[in-house]
Symmetry: C3
Subunit: 106 residues, 3 copies
Amino acid sequence: MKVVVQVSEKEKINQAVKSVMNLINDLGEELEEVEVVFHQSAITATIDEGIIKPLLEKKINVIACRNSLISQGINESSLVKGVKIVNSGVGEVVRRQKEGWIYLRL
Amino acid sequence: MKVVVQVSEKEKINQAVKSVMNLINDLGEELEEVEVVFHQSAITATIDEGIIKPLLEKKINVIACRNSLISQGINESSLVKGVKIVNSGVGEVVRRQKEGWIYLRL
Amino acid sequence: MKVVVQVSEKEKINQAVKSVMNLINDLGEELEEVEVVFHQSAITATIDEGIIKPLLEKKINVIACRNSLISQGINESSLVKGVKIVNSGVGEVVRRQKEGWIYLRL
């Protein structure tokens, strides 16, 4: 299965990443793809290598919301290498579900 | 596609409305219908014209949870004109998904 | 229909239980099964009889996340009788959706 994870709050970034790792350990081979979408105040995660690298190393898609980058005054050049940008995090979460991905809001 | 949006926390009302607007801008014509359900402490949004009018102007369904109105001591006559009431916000969110709507929890 | 409910935050336990009761009252016979998954800081609910018993009395499945129990230093023997344990709360939420359950994040 494929899972799209939404992370919205800055205060929950670390807990969310921990939960994503638990998800991977729990579901193992059942899990085909995982995508983590950071938006709203949680967008700051996408410029923090200590947070993002472990996710990328697990072959997780890491997505940054452009609207949130602009709101928070973060330059796209500051993103950790490997992070992809979408126009809106909410649009991405909705589109992925339309494609059949399972939704998890952390 | 059709999207049902759940807004639960008072502190997140403004951010949630901003995200709904971003969703509309991002998905454009792909989006057939959007419904925003305010419940729990976020129910207060439904008596605030400055918050609700821009949503109604975008042809978004705005829904108030009756249980939350009662909990917060808000009279139905105080609702912004155009807001619809359901017995429970959570019931609405579940029913919409049953009907095939995509879920977004802000 | 079948609904899987995710409760993540300790501060929201009481409100979440209230919403689950509202869901049951609202959907009535339409609702075949409800499962409430407590994880992250909300795991503490699973050792509190005053919170869990009313749920069990309504034939709701109450689930505790083992990862969260370990993180919070809660012994499995402290769980309210009738609570079931899964390896990870997020894995449970994803699996249930895969099985066709509707997702509600409180």
